[in-house]
Symmetry: C2
Subunit: 420 residues, 2 copies
């Protein structure tokens, strides 16, 4: 017997037929004697319709009201899922965020889960009732108002529920069948990883992999929740019910690095095409230059990723290059231009035709020379590196987006990730 | 300064443009210094979609889950209305049933409001904030689960909010501009009633008038809430803001009969075409015959309206005629046929081609001879009466539906209701 959290995203619950498919996955686990909590997103499209109405009502809307409107989508799915489960003879009920309660911060629209009191749902699940919980939403316990976690927040809801239930596994059902060494649409030789460490998954998420939301991985890492990524489109009866000794048969387990026996130096190659590069030319050589540039950007809630500073052609000024999300580029340029007299610079140029390619692996900690290998392989292909950032287990390079596919394939082969 | 509750139904909030129109009605009141609570239904069509999904999930669904799903519609409208009001510079927030809280019985799908603690919304409204409250829904305080009040329940929500706020008036905005002496589509000479008593409105509602939900009138009567019916499709700036001395300028006020100065003997003629007649022929003459027929119908939750018992042609048996809602006719016949051996009868015949015509007026209490006048007028037109029921302030007759319009026009003229 295992305690299992099963999370289904918007495409998995897009209509009542798909919800019936989800219910069959749940029934498989219940029939095997597992204790189950289900976390559901809104039917795909529902949240977009709600957001469109909110924007039609007013572009400048109160985020508390935005949350009240947008959270209704998950409420519908949770109720429908409970009804279908009951029609299959399964003891089930729906729980809204405020009923659990999923307690969050007051940051409406992008709230953080602060805790889930264990009593309510744990008692229900222990008693054999399937708890169908709305993802994405919670309640600010101080005001009693509904909050939402931001797009993709249902993954985080699922991990938080797994923490509250002391679950054996948190299964994230999605439209891919696991985490791959890189995107299989670009590299057909990409391999599914049976296991990946929290740290690697976190770096992959921030480097562009869209499989799991960053915050859900952080939460899983802090609380050591064994999280698994698997496909909801596999026929429910073609899968074995969860047992502690068969988790590795399907999907990808995100877990502690101690649980990964055979470690590669590099586990995966991630890429992100939604970055944009801004270069500020001939910045005045005054103290505090970085603060004068990045302070106004931070005030505008624009995240800066890579930063490179170098001497300009005239040898007397610095050029400053950095990247932001491509969607933020217009706002970032506006901020920089407004602050021109304060910063002091000659000109600013930008480009969205860039891609960030990252090699990620916990093995890098104990292996020197990974960066050198990587730069040499890219140079051999004639690919110019525009910027570099590194962490203990990641090396990212910014390149021209025209070379993105070549770079991913080259690095995938270089680090021995190609399937044989 | 007045405390005003404003209720808007589904067609008045059918899309964001209509919600903006609703907000202009609210702004008119706020600008005049009135304290306002708004009660909204779901966007028209939204509830039908949600109900359709529930039925697709399972015909036999848990009513608690039905409520969780269906209540989401009002949540969306309340949030959108608050956003639009804020965009007009009005201090407003949305309240869901569980937040107010609107406490109800546990009868999911058709719960009754048991009370609204006054503190939360009263404090908000007194402080000048517009409280936008979801109609139709509440919470069972024992279980903490969402309940709904049944179709049309938003009228009742509005009256209950008016009770909690000690409101001066509960304005029900709808798609007609008041309560009429009869349906103006049938009798062009029908007149809008400036005032109508709770008792008359209650009889009109149960006699087929669809302007206000019966339970909302009951609640208004018990708590003496001055309730007004008026149209949301009048241009918001063409109406005067509420003052205690101008309520009668528009719409119809439902109030205590003491507040109605000039009383007519008959205030209105109502009709209902959705009745069906069942006649059980030659019922065995045993004791307890009514219980044997109406017991099984009550067990099947089928409401019986008019009942006539008379001696059959052979002089030795009784025939029993009664009416049910036309939609219930197939189920009622099934129940009667199943109980045939228990009841003991020769045959059963039925017809949905009947109409119930009612004359309603508190003046009947002190005027004799109204029934005789009515029967004579109908007889003069050659209209046969199939059944009769009366209350202290109402006389209803069942007639062939072919004569419905003639009967309504005849009685409207007879009792001096035609506009001059």
């Amino acid at each position: 017997m295992a305690v299992v959290v099963m999370k289904f995203g918007g495409t998995s619950v897009a209509n009542v037929d798909r919800i019936k498919n989800v219910a069959r996955h749940v029934k498989r686990e219940v029939d095997a004697g597992n204790k189950v909590a289900v976390v559901v997103s809104a039917m795909s499209g529902a949240t977009n319709q709600l957001v469109a109405w909110v924007n039609e009502a007013s572009q400048l809307h109160d985020k508390r009201e935005y949350d009240a409107v947008v959270a209704s989508g998950e409420q519908v799915t949770a109720g429908l899922t409970a009804i279908v489960l009951q029609s299959m003879g399964i003891n089930a009920r729906s729980w809204q965020g405020w009923q659990v309660p999923v307690e969050t911060s007051a940051a409406h629209g992008s709230a953080r889960i602060t805790g889930i009191p264990e009593t309510n749902i744990r008692n229900a699940v222990e008693a054999g009732e399937v708890a169908v919980i709305t993802g994405f939403q919670g309640i600010d316990p101080k005001t009693g108002r509904v909050t939402t976690l931001g797009r993709g927040g249902s993954d985080t809801s699922a991990v938080a529920v797994a923490v509250a239930l002391h679950a054996d596994v948190c299964d994230i059902y999605t439209d891919v069948d696991g985490v791959y060494t890189t995107d299989p649409r670009i590299v057909p030789k990409a391999r599914r990883l049976p296991r990946v460490s929290y740290e690697e998954m976190l770096e992959m998420a921030s480097a562009g992999s869209k499989v799991l939301q960053t915050r859900s991985v952080e939460l899983a890492m802090v609380h050591r929740v064994r999280t698994r990524v698997l496909s909801s489109f596999v026929a429910p009866d073609a899968m074995q019910p969860v047992r502690m000794d068969n988790l590795e048969n399907i999907g990808t387990i995100v877990c502690d690095e101690d649980e990964i026996v055979e470690q590669q130096v590099v586990s995966g190659i991630a890429y992100a095409k939604d970055e944009a590069k801004i270069t500020i030319l001939k910045v005045d050589d005054k103290p505090g230059i970085a603060a004068r540039i990045f302070g106004p950007l931070a005030d505008a809630s624009i995240n800066v990723d890579m930063i490179v500073q170098n001497v300009s052609n005239d040898g007397q000024h610095a050029n400053m290059t950095f990247t932001v999300q491509a969607a933020e580029l217009p706002r970032a340029l506006e901020v920089i231009k407004k602050a021109k007299s304060d910063i002091g610079y000659f000109d600013v140029v930008s480009s969205a035709d860039v891609a960030k390619i990252s090699a990620i692996g916990i093995g890098m900690r104990s292996h020197a020379g990974v960066a050198a290998q990587m730069f040499k392989a890219l140079a051999d292909k004639g690919i110019n590196i525009l910027a570099i950032t590194t962490s203990e287990i990641k090396i990212s390079v910014l390149i021209d987006s025209a070379h993105a596919e070549t770079a991913v394939k080259t690095l995938h082969t270089l680090f021995g990730l190609d399937a044989t």
